[in-house]
């Protein structure tokens, strides 16, 4: 069995390598990148809204964040692709991949907003007080003193969020959107080689996340000296 397993893997790679690499890996990275980039923007807005003095806005955003963090990703994807289009017919026009991306962004935004909030909170209050005591406005204090220090706390956590999202995009294969787990479904469907295909996909996921986390560690070490 051992020799057929490995020869099957080699066959699969030579025959379907483009499906795994060009489709699967590229789509997975692309989806994750869009989700985290969009999530960072949305998360910053959420974090700002949570610090707002306007209570209804704060309540709405807090509710969204709590709901997203308190329900499974797969359920949110179902809601985005099947349930909301039932309620809002205009959403039916959207291709599945767009709905999936929107859900990923909102999901990521909720987690990122918490990352940003705690990153800002972790900056010593004395830094703010010193800046304000010199006569700097709240805005300048935030931009020149607090945020640059918060970023140092935020970046590593944001990298971890990226790694998490890479793994979570696998759930999007439920809707056959072309990422790595979809490549598994496709290749398995053509060849009936479940174990071999899963192994290839597993290794690819691991290589992606492991490389990223090592890069992150290096970046973190570098930032500590700055």
């Amino acid at each position: 069995m051992g020799s057929t397993f490995f020869s099957n893997i080699i066959k699969l790679i030579s025959r379907y390598g483009h499906v795994f690499l060009l489709e699967g890996v590229v789509y997975t990275l692309l989806l994750s990148l869009i989700a985290v980039a969009g999530g960072s923007v949305l998360g910053s807005l959420f974090a700002l809204a949570k610090r707002s003095k306007f209570i209804p806005l704060r309540a709405v955003v807090s509710a969204i964040v709590e709901i997203v963090r308190g329900t499974p990703m797969l359920l949110q994807l179902y809601a985005g692709v099947f349930i909301f289009p039932q309620i809002v017919p205009a959403l039916k026009e959207l291709p599945d991949i767009v709905s999936v991306i929107i859900v990923l962004i909102i999901n990521s935004g909720a987690y990122v907003s918490e990352v940003i909030r705690s990153g800002i909170q972790a900056v010593d209050i004395g830094q703010t007080e010193a800046a304000r005591s010199l006569g700097l406005s709240a805005r300048t204090t935030m931009m020149s003193v607090v945020l640059p220090q918060a970023v140092k706390n935020i970046l590593p956590a944001l990298g971890n969020e990226f790694i998490t999202v890479i793994k979570e995009t696998s759930l999007a294969s439920t809707f056959y959107v072309g990422e790595l787990m979809t490549s598994y479904l496709k290749v398995k469907g053509n060849t009936f080689l479940t174990l071999e295909t899963l192994t290839i996909v597993g290794v690819l996921y691991f290589v992606l996340t492991f490389t990223l986390s090592k890069l992150l560690q290096a970046a973190e070490r570098k930032m500590k000296h700055a």
């Binding site: 010593d124 010193a130 005591s133 006569g135 700097l136 003193v145």
Partner: protein
């Protein structure tokens, strides 16, 4: 220079200041002494509005820094007809003020007097109010924990506020159509030149490019002091500037503060260093249980204390 009128400060249910009034004259050096938790740091932090007083007013050179809340002005409340009516009904002064505050009786919705009262408050505000940010530019503060900006070099720490505020002023002048000769670069250059002069004064010019994490506590605190001086403040507030220092570094920081005092800087110092308070102060305030229990010259306070708590405090620390 600074007028503190009837300041109250509550943190939730905790009453830290219970009606403190004092004034700071130009060129005067005042020490605040007292046990931990007596409210002396809170009083200092109310002076530059790092803490907003729950009640009371802070005035700086005739300008009001605290928010104008109608019910902070007891004198104005007492002048109202509502107050006259309530006292005529047999309420004491305190009860009448309490009732007016609690029921918001001097509000527009309560008729002509309320309207007049709100108008008066707006007028007081328009004529006297000074934005806290502007006031703080003229009030330097030095903290127990130094609070140097960790993300900036020593030079960056000292120049941040002069540059940011200089540029904001320049832009405001431009908007107002006044002739402006400064540029961002000239403001930056002037701030750096001044910062280097200040660093030379304390013998740390070789540290200009270092980050705070590489400095000793004494160096950090001396840089925090000149960072405040770079704004050309009219008054300096010190919040236990030597309490977080290793003993061998206390001297260098106290020497710099003494030098400042001799140069005629107006200062308010919260301190546990009684020898220092005695040497440099013009006036010593003993803060206890949220009140100023006793105040006087260092001679009077240290040689001839009257308050029982002050006697007890001095016997422990001297």
């Amino acid at each position: 220079m600074l007028d503190i009128k009837n300041i109250y400060k509550n943190f939730g249910d905790l009453k830290v200041l219970k009606g403190v009034s004092t004034h700071v004259e130009k060129g005067e050096v005042i020490s605040l002494i007292g046990v931990s938790g007596s409210g002396k740091s809170t009083l200092l932090r109310c002076m530059n509005l790092l803490e907003t007083p729950t009640f009371g007013e802070v005035w700086m050179e005739g300008k009001l820094l605290t928010p104008v809340d109608p019910y902070l002005h007891f004198d104005v409340i007492r002048a109202s007809k509502t107050y006259a009516r309530l006292t005529a009904e047999g309420l004491t002064d305190e009860e009448a003020i309490e009732k007016i505050k609690k029921n918001d009786l001097l509000h527009e919705k309560h008729g002509a007097e309320g309207k007049e009262y709100v108008r008066l408050m707006k007028q007081i505000y328009a004529e006297n109010h000074l934005d806290a940010n502007l006031a703080r530019q003229k009030m330097g503060m030095v903290f127990q924990q130094f609070n140097l900006f960790n993300n900036k070099t020593v030079l960056g720490n000292i120049t941040l506020a002069p540059v940011k505020i200089g540029i904001a002023r320049m832009k405001a002048a431009k908007r107002a159509g006044k002739p402006v000769t400064e540029t961002k670069e000239s403001i930056q250059a002037a701030a750096e030149k001044k910062a280097m002069e200040l660093l030379k004064r304390i013998g740390l010019e070789d540290k200009a490019g270092s980050y705070p994490s590489s400095l000793s506590g004494g160096q950090k605190q001396r840089i925090a002091i000149i960072r405040a001086l770079a704004m050309d403040p009219d008054v300096m507030l010190f919040d236990e500037p030597t309490s977080a220092l290793d003993p061998e570094m206390v001297g260098e920081v106290l020497d710099l503060i003494k030098e400042l005092a001799k140069s005629g800087m107006t200062m308010v110092v919260v301190t546990h260093e009684m020898g220092f308070a005695r040497e440099v102060s013009d006036r010593v305030l003993f803060v206890d249980e949220g009140y100023i229990k006793e105040e006087g010259s260092p001679e009077e306070i240290f040689k001839n204390p009257k308050d029982a708590h002050l006697k007890d405090f001095l016997s422990k620390v001297l």
